[in-house]
Symmetry: C2
Subunit: 323 residues, 2 copies
């Protein structure tokens, strides 16, 4: 992408002159104006968001509200949103709410007063009244919001079923789950699917936050109170904690305990043994959310559609091989 | 923190009335105004950034430019900046440049036109001319920028020395390093310190990006061409890749190969064996950058000081025990 400086150089005028032409403000000679317009065309220069906002009453900004940037799932999701948004000429502003309602509220106010063209919310307060009151187009990502807000998530129910079926199909007989925070509907569905497919084989479930240290404690509690040979973790960070805790108790993975995670983040490749997991299509989820939002910003129809993308197993080494 | 809704409820008026009082716009009865001001005082309500910007010509926003949010070091750093900024009444807007100069330039323009009160730059283009041209206070974090810009980083040179001394002190005789991108001065210093303290024991150095897949390739190249029993990785993600690659070649860590990382991110605890690493004081770095910036925003003196914080070893299980 050409910059305003390159345009100025090509047109042999100052940056200020290019700026006056773009903003249609102040005196510019006809000769200079023609040179600038030719340079803009030749270099395929797209005026920055400030200039564009003057033309189009748009800021060219999309706000992306994230609940926890230290959970690696969200940075990967954000990267996908950014790729698609940038490709369509939008910049993405990230806000981290740290799972706090008041931070979320304050960021939404801030983003609105910056005149963002749209918001993507991957946050946890599905009943946040701000969403109903705003005129800015909104897409919910990884979370389901109330009201007429289009949603993109993965099929957590199918993912939970798949995890149970995979463990059972590979010889596990006594199943356990660390569920993730039960207050989020998209997370609860992973539990519901697992529970249904596990049936009588389900020995125990325990809740944990999506943080490593919290998950370590949950895993230790589970190990001290129950015996099981297959475990489903509601995300890959929890799965990493289970593997760590199993190691400390000299429980061999996958020989004595098979572990399956959920998310498909890069962490699963980094740990030893590498993690078998139910992979969300992270990139496609971010891509679809960005595309839906941009369609709405650019005047597309408003539909409260819920897009639930399919998940699949990535088989690595924390579950047994078949046969 | 109280919200505008709570103020309205306490004062027994509408949110719109509270807003009119704060913004000093439109008609409000004396009675209502008094009730609102009392409620604001009682609830210790701090008007949001929009209102404050009307009072103080400040936006209450700090822009934080990050080079790569998928590198877990940066989200941890961002969390510290956010904590301190929030504590002082500022919100933090994150922008991910994906290590691209043009994205960085576009985000800086966008943040300036949003009237951010200050910028924290953790990015890679130390010669970005935008920094010299901007009136907004800037602090450089984890990177050294040109010109009179205060900088906060960790002491990479001392960290590199410490890594070599630790490996040698624990019995390693043939040392190797995966260096990280050489174009960044703060990263190069880790290499320089290691090289100097390793002396004749240094067998090989190889460069890698700070991404897991890239580091895996670098590690495989190193293993195929050299023999060594101690390795220093320029960040913890690279160290995780080395451990993974060693596993695949049946090289026992730490018995046959001792590995030491750099950063001290949570990933080091998640992998097996848990990683010995040179820990940067990540939280303090973010905290200091935020404090320095807020001092400058609020009228403090402008000094081009360079704050280099000390590092320390976190001993875990990828290096041998002493004695």
């Amino acid at each position: 992408m050409a910059t305003i400086r390159e345009v100025a150089k090509q047109a042999n005028v100052s940056v200020a002159t290019v700026s006056r032409v773009i903003n249609q403000k102040g005196y510019v000679s006809e000769e200079a104006r023609t040179a600038v317009l030719q340079a803009i065309e030749k270099l395929d220069y797209r005026p920055n968001r400030v200039a564009r906002s003057l033309y189009q009453k748009k800021s060219g900004l999309i706000g992306l509200i994230l609940p926890d940037i230290t959970n690696p799932f969200f940075p990967q999701l954000a990267r996908a949103v950014e790729d698609v948004a940038n490709h369509h000429g939008y910049q993405v502003i990230l806000c981290n709410t740290d799972e706090q309602f008041q931070k979320e509220e304050a960021y939404i106010q801030a983003l609105e007063s910056m005149h963002v063209d749209g918001l993507i919310i991957t946050t946890n307060y599905s009943d946040n009244p701000n969403y109903a009151n705003t005129d800015v187009p909104i897409i919910a990502l990884d979370r389901v919001l109330q009201g007429a807000i289009p949603t993109v998530s993965s099929n957590g129910y199918a993912g939970g079923r798949l995890a149970a079926e995979w463990l059972i199909g590979h010889g596990a007989e006594r199943l356990a789950m660390i569920t993730g925070p039960a207050k989020f509907p998209t997370i609860r569905k992973r539990h519901e699917g697992f529970e249904e497919a596990a049936g009588d084989r389900l020995v125990a479930s325990i809740e944990s936050m999506f943080h490593f240290q919290d998950a370590l404690k949950a895993a230790e509690k589970l190990f001290s109170q129950h015996t099981f040979d297959g475990l489903f973790a509601a995300n890959d960070v929890i799965a990493a904690a289970v593997i760590q805790a199993a190691k400390q108790r000299n429980i061999a993975v996958p020989e004595q305990l098979q572990v399956i995670g959920y998310d498909g983040i890069e962490l699963g490749e980094m740990i030893t043994p590498p993690l078998t997991t139910i992979a969300q299509p992270i990139y496609q989820m971010g891509e679809m959310a960005a595309k839906l939002l941009i369609e709405r910003i650019e005047g597309g129809p408003i539909e409260a559609s819920h897009h639930e993308l399919p998940v699949h197993v990535i088989e690595r080494e924390t579950t047994k091989k078949k046969g």
